[in-house]
């Protein structure tokens, strides 16, 4: 089995305090994997380790079928300044950065790609709206459109459905499925177990240490979830060890 990305004894943390400890595992190429675990389990930290945003304290991340440059990443709390005067098209079109770079303009073909992506997330008609006038769900749709344009081999999503309505979530799950169908590897941090069961064939349970990793039906058991909660509660260190929910 070829892997898109592999964790080798990977330890990640902040200020030398580990938030993820000695995680081993391979994420298969083209798989659709959910990362679940209690608050403070290091789920977001693990994604940041993959993007290279956070350097490992020990171990390393191996890239198999893709490289670090072929990652598209949607953080949990994006630090987008929504008062900044740009439109939906401006926000989405920079997804083509690898083609247009920092300077070149959009050609007609690019423009068509941007329109397609906007239509795929159901935002047609909103193209010239300022981003400040969008709801949380609409912003998330626009960010998914940008991810579509990034055309990445590996897509990392951190709690992408937090605080958005059910309709938007269903639509965006459709986009996730589309990526899966196109053979891209998708890793998503999620907390809603039902969504994971319904949509994600693979699951990785994390509680700072790796609890289990494999097919969702086998891995996402009550016993494993209980064990994960116990492992995180057992961590009685200072808040930065265990309580950083938004890592």
């Amino acid at each position: 089995m070829t892997y898109a990305v592999a964790f080798r004894e990977l330890t990640l943390g902040y200020d030398r305090h580990p938030a993820v400890r000695r995680v081993d595992g391979e994420v298969a190429d083209g798989s659709l994997t959910a990362i679940v675990g209690p608050n403070g389990a290091g789920k977001s930290t693990l994604l940041r380790g993959v993007t290279g945003d956070l350097r490992p304290l020990a171990g390393h991340v191996d890239f198999g079928t893709c490289t670090r440059n072929e990652i598209a990443y949607l953080p949990q709390q994006s630090d987008i300044d929504r008062s900044f005067p740009i439109t939906v098209v401006d926000l989405v079109a920079v997804g083509l950065w690898s083609e247009i770079g920092g300077f070149f303009g959009l050609r007609a073909a690019h423009r068509a790609q941007v329109d397609d992506a906007i239509s795929a997330v159901g935002l047609t008609g909103f193209e010239s709206r300022p981003i400040g006038s969008l709801s949380g769900g609409q912003i998330q749709r626009a960010l998914f459109a940008r991810l579509l344009l990034q055309d990445a081999r590996l897509v990392l999503l951190d709690e992408p459905f937090l605080a958005i309505d059910a309709k938007t979530m269903i639509d965006l799950l459709g986009v996730v499925r589309r990526w899966h169908g196109e053979g891209r590897t998708v890793i998503t941090v999620l907390h809603d177990v039902e969504t994971v069961r319904a949509y994600f064939p693979e699951t990785l349970i994390l509680a700072r240490d790796l609890v289990a990793h494999g097919p969702t039906a086998e891995v996402l058991t009550a016993a494993n979830q209980f064990r994960a909660r116990q492992m995180c509660e057992a961590c009685v260190g200072p808040p930065h060890d265990c309580g950083r929910d938004a890592l």
Binding site: T51, D53, D79, P85, L91, V94, G101, G102
Partner: protein, 288 residues
């Protein structure tokens, strides 16, 4: 009317030179000010303006009222304060506003000390309030060069700069330009402040950067629109300020910034976008 508005410029070379200098500063510093405002760094501009003082003062100590020495000194001091405060924020627990405030206050006091130990009060006034009515050829060339450089840099870095402001995390994931963009922008702030302080003085240089940008917020929505309106306001305010200063014998720097302040007051009250009067003005179609 002609006599009041045109004659001072037609008759006196120093007025024409002052106006040219102000146009140059308006075209370069004001777009930088728009980005400072959009990044919520308006007060950072003020802090940086104070930070360049000791560099300019050391330049003055070494070479007298030399344009080149004071410019280089100001640049070095401004960049040093910007980089040091950035460094302290990154490696210690202190937040950026506090570390910048500490460094610029140290820098400012050092500057005042240096100027006052060696110079006369007139020199101090020159540094603090500028000499827009006494701009010579080399000063004008410097101002125009800084403006050209600024506009070229902004054109080249426009997209990364917009992203660095609107969604810095995304810029970091797709490109290595994040740090380059940030520091180039800081350098642009500093060189434009240096350019402004030759004409308007360290206290007023930041005024031409920020006040027109703040006023433009009430007229335009897009970044391009903001820049155009801000530059226009800065140029008109410069002309008005120079005329008021000429007719009433007032210092020109403050007169220019007060004229921009008047434009700000009018915009705040009557501008079509988010002003006091906006709720009662006929609605523009801002849906699309």
């Amino acid at each position: 009317m002609w006599e009041a508005l045109i004659q001072p410029f037609a008759e006196f070379g120093f007025m024409r030179r002052a106006m040219l200098g102000c146009i140059a500063i308006s075209a370069g510093a004001t777009p930088v000010g728009v980005f400072l405002m959009l990044r919520r760094m308006s007060l950072t501009g003020d802090a940086m303006a104070h930070a360049i003082l000791p560099g300019a003062a050391v330049g003055y100590l070494v070479a007298g009222l030399s344009l080149g020495a004071m410019t280089v000194g100001g640049l070095v001091a401004g960049m040093a304060v910007a980089l040091l405060s950035g460094f302290v924020t990154r490696v210690t627990a202190l937040r950026e506003d506090a570390s910048l405030a500490a460094f610029y206050l140290i820098s400012l006091s050092l500057g005042v000390l240096i100027v006052s130990t060696r110079g006369s009060n007139i020199d101090l006034m020159h540094v603090l309030f500028g000499t827009v009515l006494a701009l010579d050829d080399s000063a004008l060339i410097l101002l125009c060069s800084i403006t050209s450089l600024t506009l070229i840099a902004l054109a080249l870095l426009f997209r990364p700069l917009v992203l660095e402001c609107a969604d810095p995390q995304f810029l970091r994931t797709v490109s290595g330009l994040s740090a380059v963009t940030h520091f180039t922008f800081l350098a642009l702030v500093v060189i434009n402040l240096v350019s402004g302080f030759h004409a308007l003085g360290t206290l007023m240089a930041v005024g031409i950067m920020i006040v027109p940008a703040a006023a433009a917020r009430f007229w335009a929505v897009s970044i391009g629109g903001l820049i155009l309106v801000a530059v226009a306001i800065a140029i008109v305010a410069s002309g008005c300020g120079l005329l008021v200063s000429y007719h009433f014998g007032l210092p020109s720097g403050p007169a220019i910034i007060l004229a921009a302040g008047l434009a700000y007051g009018l915009s705040l009250t009557l501008g079509p976008v988010g002003s006091l009067a906006a709720p009662v003005l006929p609605r523009r179609n801002v849906e699309a």
